[in-house]
């Protein structure tokens, strides 16, 4: 039996479609891969949120705006300074990270001891301002950004044409996510981060410069979003709205995953991308809502989230 299926698949490498139970397997694989690409963005964004949440206990509502900023900075770097994509991929997250550091220092820190709902509202305000500013100066139609020449073209897979740039998105974001995970879970610095998350004051007492670590962590978490923004610039149009659209979905993902662990944030992000891809294939009408529905189910059966620690 097994052999027959394999045979069928190989035999159909031409234009015969491989179908099982009436499902077009090639189309399905295509959608899965596309889902993984989206999942890469979700993973980067929810990882950034998780890192920031870990140390500062705040949800950075401006994370979407920072993602938007990443894309815009890449565009501006190219158009005003002639900085190409590859440099932008390195420099833009740094620049946005620096902005984030200023934001942490002058806006977030003064209210660090207040109810964390305030920082949520504060970052929400920042998001509105940033989005408003870019709409004001650049309009809302979106700006074009070219795919870098090195990554133009694509590879013909048996089931779809995979643009090289999309492959690059998956690879680069997985590398970044995994490295981040490794640093946090497996190194001494990571131990400081994890401990600082729980009791920053005591860590200070042990002689660790927690405010510095906090600031840098905030910067890094935001830089991840900016990195995602630069990655997104060539494939989605660079527009002021791009951040708020994706952020709410990422929030749902965070609720599903549960902020319990760094690895959890990454995995949930990728997983939800795939779930969305599958939905687009089987029942496209629900593709906008499927992640939220998934969240509802998780809330019902595992309120703390898939990777969350019980309260």
């Amino acid at each position: 039996m097994k052999g027959t299926v394999t045979y069928t698949i190989f035999a159909s490498l031409g234009d015969v479609m491989a179908t099982i139970f009436g499902i077009n397997l090639f189309a399905l694989s295509g959608q899965l891969l596309v889902g993984l690409i989206n999942g890469s963005f979700y993973a980067l964004l929810s990882l950034g949120l998780a890192i920031i949440f870990g140390l500062l206990k705040i949800i950075n509502f401006a994370q979407g705006a920072m993602y938007m900023l990443g894309a815009f900075f890449a565009w501006m770097a190219l158009n005003y300074m002639g900085i190409n994509y590859w440099w932008a991929l390195l420099l833009v997250p740094l620049a946005v990270g620096v902005l984030a550091i200023l934001m942490e220092r002058f806006l977030v820190r003064p209210i660090a001891n207040e109810d964390h709902l305030y920082s949520l509202l504060l970052t929400f305000g920042v998001a509105l301002v940033l989005q408003g500013l870019f709409t004001h100066f650049y309009g809302s139609s979106g700006l074009p950004y070219q795919i870098p020449a090195e990554l133009k073209g694509g590879t013909k897979l048996p089931f779809m044409y995979l643009p090289n740039y999309r492959a690059w998105i998956i690879v680069s974001s997985l590398v970044v996510c995994f490295s981040t995970w490794w640093v946090i879970e497996k190194t001494k610095l990571g131990a400081y981060l994890r401990a600082g998350t729980e009791n920053p004051q005591l860590m200070q007492g042990f002689g660790i410069n927690v405010p510095l670590i906090t600031t840098l962590t905030f910067g890094f978490g935001v830089a991840l979003a900016a990195f995602a923004g630069v990655l997104a610039a060539p494939v989605y149009s660079v527009s002021p709205e791009m951040g708020s659209n994706i952020l709410i979905v990422v929030f749902a993902i965070v609720v599903i995953g549960g902020m319990g662990s760094i690895g959890g944030a990454i995995l949930t992000g990728l997983m939800m991308g795939v779930v969305e891809g599958l939905t687009k294939f089987f029942y496209p009408e629900a593709s906008t809502t499927v992640i939220f529905l998934f969240m509802v189910i998780v809330l019902l059966v595992k309120p703390a989230g898939l990777f969350g620690k019980e309260a």
Partner: protein, 236 residues
């Protein structure tokens, strides 16, 4: 800077949590190798005194000289590096780290801290549970871990807040031995204690606090004479 003289000198220390003024001008001096206790009722401000030394309160004024360095304007994270080890009242064990990670967490501030073996020797429970998640330990085990953690860093000025709390009498006795041993090694200890019976035999001196003031200083040899006084302050 003398290696034998004053290790800690506090003058006119005021501390605040937000609006509330907790310490009202504390003065104290501790010499090297001394073990001094801070006595007082709940809420007298003893823990706050330790926290103020560590710059962990909202705001503080006055002078705090540690090992010859004025620290009132110093960032909190720099203080430990002057050789100070702080064991907080609420233990502060990290749940995202296991026992051994917790133990290894604080950076060494000096080179001659206790070795891990030595520590496991004193607290066998910890050795047994070394790969357990930090906060899965029992209350008393967490207390041991909190204490062990700073012994490892080589700090030579120890600020210890209620370290016998929740410990079985056997362990309390062991701790007393450890403190005496540390003292003999030349470490300086400022101990906040409720358990007067624990503190009395090992301390060189006692400060008594009330409402954020130091109201009495009692030398070891005066204990007997001042028992009455202590009783009225502490309700022993």
């Amino acid at each position: 800077m003398s290696s034998t003289g004053e290790k800690l000198r506090i003058s006119d220390l005021h501390a605040y949590y937000g609006e509330s003024h907790i310490l009202h001008g504390i003065d104290m001096t501790i010499m090297q190798g001394e073990l001094v206790t801070l006595l007082g009722r709940n809420g007298a401000g003893r823990s706050t005194t330790l926290k103020a030394i560590m710059n962990m309160v909202g705001r503080r004024t006055g002078k705090i000289n540690i090992n010859g360095n004025e620290t009132i304007g110093m960032a909190a994270h720099k203080i430990a590096h002057l050789g100070v080890g702080y064991c907080p009242e609420e233990r502060g064990i990290f749940s995202s780290l296991n026992v051994e990670e917790n133990l290894m967490l604080p950076p060494n501030v000096r080179s001659d801290g206790m070795s891990v073996e030595e520590i496991y020797d004193i607290f066998p429970n910890l050795a047994e549970r070394r790969y357990s998640q930090g906060t899965r330990l029992s209350g008393g085990e967490q207390q041991m871990l909190a204490m062990a953690r700073i012994l490892r860093t080589g700090a030579n000025i120890l600020l210890l807040d209620e370290i016998t709390e929740g410990l079985a009498p056997v362990i309390v006795q062991k701790l007393a031995e450890v403190l005496v041993m540390l003292k003999e090694r030349g470490l300086t200890v400022l101990l906040v204690e409720q358990n007067f019976r624990f503190a009395a035999p090992i301390a060189d001196r006692h400060y008594v606090m009330e409402h954020g003031h130091i109201v009495e200083e009692v030398q070891k040899h005066e204990l007997e004479a001042k028992t009455e006084l202590l009783n009225t302050y502490l309700g022993v």
